[in-house]
C-alpha cells in the first residue's frame, strides 16, 4: 500500500513512542529489583542480586503463590467446562435469548471491576448465605474467566465450520466418536489457549479477590497489595514484581503458539 513518506514516518514515530511508553516502566521494574537501596530513587546508586536470593526464601510469597495457583486451577477448570459448553450452544444453534446470553458472559468483565466485586460479595453473603472462603474466590474468578475460554472456543468453532464433523458423520461415526476424533482435536489448541488466558486472568485479579476472600486467604496480588506500603518489604516486592514481568512473556508465547487467532489477553 502506498502511504506518503511523511505519513509513514509520523505513524512509525508514534509506534516507537508507544512502545517506549509500554516498555520503559516495565524496564524500570526489572532494574529496580537489583536496586541495593531499600528506598526508591532514580537512577539507582548501587546494584545487588541480594534481594533475589532473599525473596526465594520468603515464606509469605511462597504461600501466596501456592494460593494463587489453587484458585487459578479451580477457576480455570470450571471456566473451561462452562465456556466450552456455551461456545457450542451459541456457536452452533440459534435460539431465543441467544444475544442476552452472549451479553451476560461478557458482563462480569465489561462492568466496572468494583461493581462486579461488590456484587459477588453481597451475592455470596446475603443472597446465597455463604461464608467467604477460598472457594468463593474461585467461584467468582471462574465467572469472569468463562468469557476468555468462550471467546477462544467460539472463534475456533467458527473458523473450522461444521464440514469436518459432517464428513465424520457421513462416514458413519456417531456424535461421541465424532467429538472424540474430530471436533475435540480441532478445538484443543484454542481450549488450551483459553485456559492459559483464564488462568492468567485469575492469577492477576485483585479487586474481586479482595472483596470475596476472607482474612487469611492471601493470593499473590493481595500479598503485593498488602506489602506495597510496608517499607521493609520493599525490596522483596520489587523482586516479585520483576518476576511477574518476566513471567508474563511465557503465557503469551505459549498461547500464540497454540492458537493462531488468540491474541486477546486480560479482559478482552
Amino acid at each position: 500500500m502506498r502511504n506518503s513518506r511523511r505519513a509513514r514516518w509520523t505513524f512509525g514515530l508514534v509506534m516507537a513512542l508507544g512502545l517506549a511508553f509500554v516498555y520503559v516502566p516495565l524496564g524500570v521494574v526489572l532494574i529496580n529489583s537489583f536496586n541495593a537501596s531499600t528506598v526508591f530513587a532514580w537512577p539507582p546508586q548501587e546494584l545487588t542480586t541480594h534481594w533475589w536470593t532473599a525473596t526465594i526464601g520468603n515464606e509469605g510469597v511462597r504461600a501466596a503463590v501456592l494460593t494463587s495457583f489453587e484458585v487459578g486451577l479451580v477457576a480455570t477448570t470450571a471456566a473451561l467446562l462452562l465456556g466450552t459448553l456455551l461456545a457450542f450452544a451459541l456457536g452452533r444453534y440459534t435460539f431465543f435469548g441467544r444475544h442476552t446470553l452472549s451479553l451476560l458472559v461478557v458482563l462480569p468483565i465489561a462492568l466496572p471491576g468494583i461493581v462486579t466485586a461488590l456484587a459477588f460479595r453481597t451475592g455470596f453473603r446475603t443472597f446465597l448465605g455463604l461464608e467467604l472462603s477460598i472457594w468463593t474466590v474461585a467461584i467468582a474468578h471462574a465467572t469472569f474467566c468463562i468469557v476468555v475460554v468462550y471467546n477462544n472456543a467460539l472463534a475456533r468453532l467458527r473458523r473450522m465450520g461444521t464440514t469436518p464433523e459432517e464428513a465424520s458423520m457421513d462416514l458413519g461415526a456417531d456424535t461421541f466418536t465424532t467429538f472424540r476424533l474430530v471436533t475435540f482435536p480441532l478445538l484443543r489448541g484454542a481450549l488450551v489457549a483459553g485456559a492459559l488466558l483464564a488462568f492468567g486472568l485469575s492469577f492477576d485479579e485483585i479487586v474481586v479477590t479482595l472483596f470475596t476472600a476472607p482474612p487469611g486467604v492471601t493470593t499473590l496480588p493481595i500479598w503485593i497489595y498488602q506489602n506495597l506500603s510496608r517499607p521493609n518489604q520493599g525490596p522483596v516486592v520489587n523482586v516479585v514484581a520483576a518476576v511477574l514481568v518476566l513471567a508474563s512473556i511465557l503465557p503469551i508465547y505459549l498461547s500464540q503458539k497454540l492458537s493462531g487467532e488468540s491474541t486477546g489477553g486480560g479482559r478482552l
Binding site: N3, F21, P25, V29, A89, L111, T143, D204, S248, I252
Partner: protein, 311 residues
C-alpha cells in the same frame, strides 16, 4: 501414517458390517436420539452454564441492587432488609459524592481519549504501514504487557511519577520541568497505560479488515494523508474504536487501586465504595450503582454505532 491408510482402506477390503457392533451400542443409540432432537442437545449444552451465570452472577447483581435499598442496624452493623431510599438520597444529595462522580467520569473520559490518541496510530502502523513480517511481532509486543500483573504495572508507575526522585522527574529535570507527582495526572497516565492494549487490539482488528484500496483510492482522488485518515479510515474503524472505549471507559470508572497508589488524595467512586463497604454495605452498594448508571447511559449512546456487536 500406516495405521491411517489401513483405516481408510479397510471398508473397501471388508464388506461393511450389517449389524451394529455390540460394544458402544448404547452410545450409538443415545447419539442417534440426540441427533434427532436438536432441542435436547441444546438444553444439555445450556443448562449448566446458564444456571451458573444466573445463580452466581445475575443473583449477585440483583442482590447488589437490592442491598442498595436496605439499611444497616446501627448497633449490630448487620444489613436490615427493609426498603429505603435513604442510601440513594444520601449519595445524590451530598455534593462530595457528585464531585467524585464527575471526577471519575472525567478521568475515565481522559483515559479513553489518551488511549485513542496513542492507540489508533499504533494500530494503524501495525496494520497498514509496517512490513507484513513485523506484524505478529508488533502485535505480540503490544499484547504481552496485558499479561504483566495489573498491580505491578501500577507499581511501575509509582516509580515513574514519584515526586522528586521518580523516573519522569529525572527525565524532565534537564528541561527544568518537574515530574507529575501523585495526583490526577498520574492517575490518568497510569490508567491509560493499563488499558491501552484494550484499545489497540479492536482497532487493529478493524483496520486489518479494512481493504487497503480504500486508502489508495482516497490518495488517488487527491486527498492529503491527514484527510484520508479523517474522512476514510476513522469512519470505517469507528465501531472498533467505540468497542475499545467501552473497555477503557468502564475499567477506568471502576478502578480505585490506581488512585490509591499514584493518585495522592484523588478520590474516585471506587475509593468511596472501598472505604464504606465494611461499615455500611447498603451505602457502598448505592455508590456502586453510580458507575453502573454511567455505563448504561454510555452503552445506550454508543449502541447505534453497532460497536457492541464487536465486543
Amino acid at each position: 501414517m500406516e495405521h491411517r491408510e489401513e483405516r481408510l482402506t479397510a471398508p473397501v477390503v471388508d464388506p461393511p458390517p450389517v449389524e451394529e457392533p455390540a460394544r458402544g451400542s448404547h452410545e450409538r443409540r443415545l447419539s442417534a436420539a440426540l441427533f434427532r432432537r436438536p432441542r435436547v442437545r441444546l438444553a444439555a449444552l445450556l443448562t449448566l452454564p446458564t444456571a451458573w451465570l444466573v445463580l452466581v452472577y445475575l443473583a449477585a447483581l440483583a442482590s447488589l441492587l437490592a442491598t442498595a435499598f436496605f439499611s444497616v442496624d446501627e448497633f449490630t452493623n448487620e444489613v436490615v432488609r427493609t426498603f429505603t431510599w435513604q442510601n440513594l438520597v444520601d449519595v445524590l444529595s451530598e455534593p462530595a459524592y457528585l464531585q467524585a462522580t464527575a471526577r471519575t467520569v472525567g478521568i475515565a473520559a481522559a483515559v479513553t481519549v489518551g488511549c485513542v490518541l496513542l492507540g489508533f496510530p499504533m494500530a494503524f502502523y501495525m496494520a497498514k504501514v509496517a512490513p507484513a513480517r513485523w506484524r505478529n511481532l508488533l502485535l505480540a509486543l503490544v499484547v504481552t504487557p496485558l499479561w504483566a500483573s495489573y498491580l505491578v504495572k501500577i507499581y511501575a508507575w509509582q516509580a515513574m511519577v514519584q515526586p522528586e526522585t521518580g523516573v519522569l522527574a529525572w527525565m524532565l529535570q534537564p528541561f527544568g520541568l518537574p515530574g507529575p507527582g501523585y495526583g490526577i495526572t498520574a492517575t490518568v497516565l497510569t490508567l491509560t497505560y493499563l488499558w491501552l492494549p484494550y484499545m489497540i487490539l479492536p482497532v487493529y482488528a478493524g483496520l486489518e479488515r479494512m481493504p487497503d484500496s480504500l486508502i489508495d483510492a482516497s490518495g488517488d482522488l487527491g486527498a492529503h494523508p491527514a484527510r484520508t485518515v479523517r474522512s476514510v479510515v476513522v469512519p470505517v474503524v469507528y465501531p472498533s474504536i467505540v468497542a475499545g472505549s467501552v473497555f477503557t471507559f468502564s475499567l477506568s470508572l471502576g478502578d480505585y487501586i490506581t488512585a490509591q497508589i499514584v493518585g495522592g488524595r484523588t478520590q474516585m467512586l471506587g475509593t468511596i465504595v472501598y472505604q464504606n463497604y465494611t461499615s455500611s454495605l447498603p451505602f457502598a452498594a448505592a455508590v456502586a450503582l453510580l458507575p453502573v448508571a454511567v455505563m448504561v447511559v454510555y452503552l445506550m449512546l454508543v449502541r447505534r454505532t453497532g460497536a457492541l456487536d464487536n465486543l
